[in-house]
Subunit: 94 residues, 2 copies
C-alpha cells in the first residue's frame, strides 16, 4: 500500500464555494483511488453543504460508508476584532 | 423524576428562522429544568445554525455536555415532484 494512503491528512476535502457535486466527485475519487478514510471539512455557511456532500456520497455512490462527525469552533481574526465560526468535520470510512 | 424528563422525544428543539440565541436559550432552559438529553434538529440551510447553537451551548453555557451527531436525508414532496434535503440531529447529553 502506498504510504500516502495510510495518512489521514492526505484525504481531506475542504468545502468552499464550488458546486456541491464537485466536492462529491472529489470524495468519490479519493475512495476509488484506494483511500480508507476521507474527511470533509467546512466552516460557517458551508456546513450544510458538507452534510449534503456526505449524504450524496453515502446514498448515491458508496452505500457501505460509516461516518463520524466532529463539531468545533474556530476564532477568525479580522483587522481589529475576533469572531467565532463553527466548524464541522465529517469522517467517512469504509 | 417526572415521567416526561425520561422521554427523549420531549426534549427536541427544531431549528427554523428565529435568531440563533432563541434556540440556545431553549436548549439551556431544558437542561436547567432537569433534562438529561436535548436533541437539536435541523434541515437544509438551517443545518449550520444547528451547529452554531450546539457550539454556543457547549462553549458558553454548559461546558460538560457530550454530543452525538446523526446525519440523514429526507424527501420533500412539493406539488408535482420530490426533492431530497439533508438533515442533522445533534444529541446533547450531560
Amino acid at each position: 500500500m502506498p504510504e500516502n494512503l495510510e495518512r489521514n491528512d492526505e484525504n481531506v476535502v475542504y468545502v468552499g464555494k464550488k458546486p456541491t457535486m464537485n466536492y462529491v466527485l472529489a470524495v468519490v475519487t479519493q475512495f476509488n483511488n484506494g483511500a480508507r478514510n476521507v474527511v470533509i471539512k467546512a466552516r460557517g455557511k458551508s456546513i450544510n453543504k458538507a452534510v449534503d456532500i456526505a449524504e450524496i456520497v453515502r446514498n448515491r455512490f458508496l452505500n457501505d460508508l460509516k461516518y463520524e462527525v466532529t463539531l468545533g469552533t474556530e476564532k477568525i481574526k479580522s483587522e481589529d476584532r475576533e469572531s467565532n465560526v463553527s466548524s464541522i468535520e465529517i469522517l467517512l470510512k469504509r
